[in-house]
Subunit: 160 residues, 2 copies
DNA sequence: CCAAGATTGTTATAATATAACTCTTGTTAG
DNA sequence: CTAACAAGAGTTATATTATAACAATCTTGG
């Protein structure tokens, strides 16, 4: 029972849906979903977990798609800039976006045990930090909101 | 005019006050503020900016307090665990806590231009992410909330 | 075809972080 | 007092994450 994003779901549909949306957006926005970029997005989508750049590179290299770090980093940069993936700062890792298409400020629930990640939304500019920013005259461009802890599956039979 | 935490203030008092509180807390909690740890805290307090571990190590080494990475990392680990400093995930850097003594979930406003950082508070478990976490059965242990953008000083005469 | 720009290949290196072992020092049980 | 222990600091080596720089190739419009 692979809990994914902490909930069971039709993951096959989830993946193909996301790939279709990504392709549509590339076609619409004149972005190029090249083989390496496509494969990296597939790898990220395959698991609702954060993967490091070198995890990705390992897969790519096993599949003959590239052996050097810049290959992975460039693909990840593209996906992040295009909004198809997010960088998880607290893990120095990357994860596929689960709200493809929507313009959103992502927030993550990160399991410290199994590294599974659920993506939620935030409206930070509306909360207390937004107030503080406005009061200070600080202009927010990007937000990082990451909660770390234990996912439901890892709370029982723990691994503290 | 060194805007500090985005506001001018009596920084000399700010630093000595923080050092006094840290010493008091160490005495009360049986923590040892050794020379290296004390000096690293002073270095972090001196600027309301995030400093990398190797920035710190540079100062330490210039002062004969240690030349190898573990010296800096151990001191920083101590300060973070003791609550005297925070790690800024988005910068892989460290900053002195400006709410010493209070048990708090820090949130940061980070200028991408001058790396100055203002510390605010968050109550993430009460907001939308907290709701999502409860709904998913996710147990939050630690939160990372970092807003990146431009501080007041860097908005004029910019450096986009 | 050709030029311009985007993408990829490749080498090398930078920046961040930790493992593991030693040595010193200070505390304390006996 | 002194052996035993624990915490801290010194040191070496290495792991992990990330980027600079330049050459080669592909893509697309003219
Ligand atoms: Zn899925
Ligand atoms: Zn888990
Ligand atoms: Zn100050
Ligand atoms: Zn600034």
């Amino acid at each position: 029972m692979p809990t994914i994003g902490f909930e069971t779901h039709d993951h096959h549909a989830c993946v193909s849906d996301a790939m279709a949306k990504a392709e549509a957006r590339c076609a619409a926005s004149d972005l190029r979903l090249t083989p390496v970029r496509r494969r990296v997005l597939e790898l990220l989508l395959a698991e609702h977990r954060a993967l490091g750049a070198y995890d990705i590179l390992g897969h790519l290299s096993a599949e003959g798609l590239g052996t050097q770090p810049p290959v992975a980093y460039r693909a990840l940069d593209f996906l992040v800039k295009a909004g198809f993936a997010h960088r998880v700062e607290a893990l120095n890792a990357y994860i596929a976006c689960t709200h493809l298409g929507a313009d959103h400020a992502p927030a993550f629930l990160i399991c410290r045990n199994c590294r599974s990640v659920a993506e939620s939304n935030t409206a930070l500019t509306q909360g207390r930090l937004g107030d503080a920013a406005r009061a200070a005259g600080f202009q927010i461009e990007h937000t990082v909101v990451e909660a770390q802890g234990l996912c439901p599956a890892c709370q029982t039979g723990d691994a503290a």
